[in-house]
């Protein structure tokens, strides 16, 4: 097999480019996606290649263009909507929640909404209170869509391609701080099945579960413990909703100890759901209470000292692991 060394940005770009080539109904729209080549350059070169009907700049009008894209999806197209940041999706929350998520059910199966909403999720470098949200718990509460959050270039490309081909709304959460992360991925086309978690490191003493950028800190914490001979199993959820509870449960039954790491807030968060499902499925296998490491319960502060204290970090993950071990 041929391999290529690409960053997440390029992996996403390839996914969009290949799917636009594959299906004439696929298009991408959003703020600055065309002439500016994308606020984070994910759509670089696509306007030149595909022209202004397939790669479309929108005004700063999230509620309008998100709704427009949902209407287009209902009437035969397969739009990809880029939110420059998922924080801006709140302006379009009515379209996402009232229309995209409910349409298939509400119309008695008459209309489906094949659409992908994608963009940066979570904190970046000191972008402060209004630009650092993690949206997965907020949207995860609602039935009617899939939520994906990849942590590396291989998953980003394969999962985005699957998301574009999926016949229902997908919320695809990227991370600005990870766009430059490189790895080898196949040069040939591939897709990754939605809804499958991945064991990224095997271990027998404890299970660490996370997704997206927080996996980095999990890996660092696991390395630290490995120095003392403690083997930590690490699971990348990849798809947040639906949860791959089977993969999670198999690990918990092996290690009996669990730490959940979530960049977003604790209250009613993804780890709250995950922890509950682990309790339901693995109650008798748990040797200690589940621990979770989440964002502190404040809006994201600006100062880098405060910001780094707010987000889960290696030290806090290690402390949680110490508690369960």
């Amino acid at each position: 097999m041929e391999w290529q060394n690409v960053d997440i940005r390029e992996a996403l770009r390839q996914a969009i480019d290949e799917e636009i080539a594959r299906d004439p109904h696929v298009l991408i729209l959003g703020e600055e996606v065309a002439k500016y080549n994308g606020a984070y350059k994910v759509t670089k070169g696509l306007l030149d290649k595909w022209g202004p009907m397939r790669v479309i700049d929108t005004p700063i009008s999230e509620n309008g263009f998100a709704g427009l894209a949902i209407g287009a999806a209902m009437t035969g197209l397969r739009p990809i909507v880029e939110f420059m940041s998922w924080n801006f999706s709140f302006v379009a929350a009515d379209q996402l929640i009232s229309n995209a998520a409910k349409m298939h059910y509400m119309s008695g199966g008459r209309y489906h909404v094949p659409i992908v909403f994608r963009g940066c999720n979570g904190a970046a470098a000191q972008v402060s209170c209004q630009h650092s949200h993690c949206v997965e718990a907020i949207y995860g509460n609602l039935p009617g869509w899939v939520i994906i959050s990849p942590s590396n270039a291989y998953d980003a490309k394969g999962l985005l391609k699957s998301a574009i081909r999926f016949n229902n709304p997908v919320l695809f959460l990227e991370n600005e701080l990870q766009y430059n992360d490189k790895m080898d991925i196949p040069s040939d086309e591939y897709t990754i099945e939605i809804g499958k978690a991945k064991v990224v490191q095997e271990g027998k003493h404890a299970t660490l579960i996370s997704y997206s950028r927080m996996l980095k800190f999990c890996t660092l914490a696991a390395k630290e413990l490995a120095k003392r001979g403690i083997e930590t199993e690490i699971i990348d959820l990849r798809t947040i909703k639906p949860l791959d509870i089977a993969t999670v449960a198999a690990s918990v039954r092996k290690t009996h100890r669990v730490v959940l790491v979530e960049e977003g807030h604790m209250y009613a968060g993804i780890s709250a759901e995950l922890g509950f499902q682990i309790m339901q499925h693995c109650f008798d296998s748990l040797d200690t209470p589940i621990e979770r490491v989440c964002q502190r319960e404040t809006p994201m502060p600006y100062s880098k000292v405060l910001e780094s204290e707010s987000i889960p970090n290696t030290e806090r993950i290690l402390a949680a692991l110490e508690k369960v071990l």
Partner: protein, 343 residues
């Protein structure tokens, strides 16, 4: 100090048409069909309300009584092949686009045989060309704009996207974002404000800073406005015929304001206490069915007794639909979680 200015508002320029010419153009058979459709809508709403009062229908119920001429004229003039999007006041449009009285009544009853299998109820009716029945005020307007986008993208040059909204929706950002996008991208969207003067219990002049609405806002987005007498089905027919032709030629959106009135409260639970009896009575003097009946009698296409017969026929259809709904099975709870996702 009153919060709302009560200065005189702008002058309305009503769409004018040659009635005699339109009557000849439509012809007797279709004119009587238009009457039947309006009578069917009226009867379905009246019986639906009755069923609601008997506890057969739950949730919200927004009646289209008083506004029938607008959508009836529109669908007759434009045909059913276009995309249509409506608000929660959607029973009439669904009927006009081919949903049967049976499936609508069964949906109101929450039965398995309902228009959307008992999932949506009164506010969420759909057909092959009707994108809802969407019930967040203004929120459906970007959806209709997206249908206009698809038409343009797919080069379906004989289609337009019709979007009906109430006057209350004009205060919503989604409407203005849609008008901006449709104008910016030359989308074949026909936006219709059905101004029935009330956003729930708030009079339009207490909610919208300009009047007439379409004539003001359309110019802001460089699109053409129209104001039409929404009680005159022939005026509506003539207007939609003309407007559709223009939109298909230019692929430019238009904004129409149909001045109308609802003869019921906002929804069935609204006794309309904010409105004087005299005001309502005055509005009902311009009942669109009565006005149309008068025209048909004047032109000798209809007699009073023939009108009664036709009304009776439509009533019987609705009564049969109620029987169908009554006898239909409830949705099987086993199917509750089916249909959240498309295959």
């Amino acid at each position: 100090m009153a919060l709302v200015k009560m200065e005189p508002k702008g002058q309305i320029h009503f769409f004018s048409y040659d009635r005699q010419k339109i009557i000849e153009e439509i012809g007797k058979a279709q004119l009587l069909m238009l009457l039947d459709q309006m009578l069917l809508i009226r009867n379905l709403e009246v019986r639906g309300e009755a069923a609601y009062q008997q506890g057969k229908v739950g949730g919200f119920f927004h009646s289209y009584i008083g506004q029938e001429a607008i959508q009836t004229g529109c669908v007759a003039a434009a045909g059913k092949r276009h995309w249509y999007t409506a608000t929660y006041r959607c029973h009439g449009l669904a009927l006009l686009l081919g949903a049967t009285p049976e499936e609508i009544m069964a949906e109101l009853y929450g039965k398995e045989t309902g228009n959307v299998k008992g999932r949506g109820g009164s506010m969420h009716l759909f057909t092959d060309r009707m994108l809802g029945g969407l019930a967040i005020v203004g929120s459906h307007v970007p959806i209709a704009t997206g249908a206009g986008f698809s038409i343009k993208y797919l080069k379906q040059n004989d289609l337009a996207s019709f979007c009906f909204m109430g006057d209350g929706a004009i205060a919503q950002g989604a409407v203005h974002e849609s008008l901006n996008l449709a104008s910016l991208w030359n989308l074949p969207c026909i936006y219709v404000i059905e101004n029935n003067h009330w956003g729930m219990g708030t009079a339009v002049e207490r909610a919208i800073a300009v009047s007439p609405i379409a004539e003001h806002f359309a110019h802001s987005y460089e699109i053409d406005p129209y104001t039409v007498d929404g009680m005159d089905v022939l005026a509506c027919y003539a207007l939609f015929k003309e407007v559709l032709k223009k939109v298909l030629q230019t692929s430019r959106p238009v904004l129409i304001e149909a001045i109308t009135d609802r003869f019921r409260g906002h929804s069935i639970s609204d006794p309309g206490l904010y409105r004087s009896k005299e005001d309502l009575q005055k509005a009902m003097e311009r009942d669109p069915i009565e006005l149309f009946k008068k025209v048909l009698i004047e032109t000798r296409m209809l007699s009073e007794s023939e009108f009664e017969d036709r009304d009776c026929q439509q009533r019987e259809k609705v009564v049969a639909a109620m029987k169908f709904a009554e006898e239909s099975p409830w949705p099987n709870p086993v199917t509750l979680e089916e249909g959240v996702f498309a295959p």
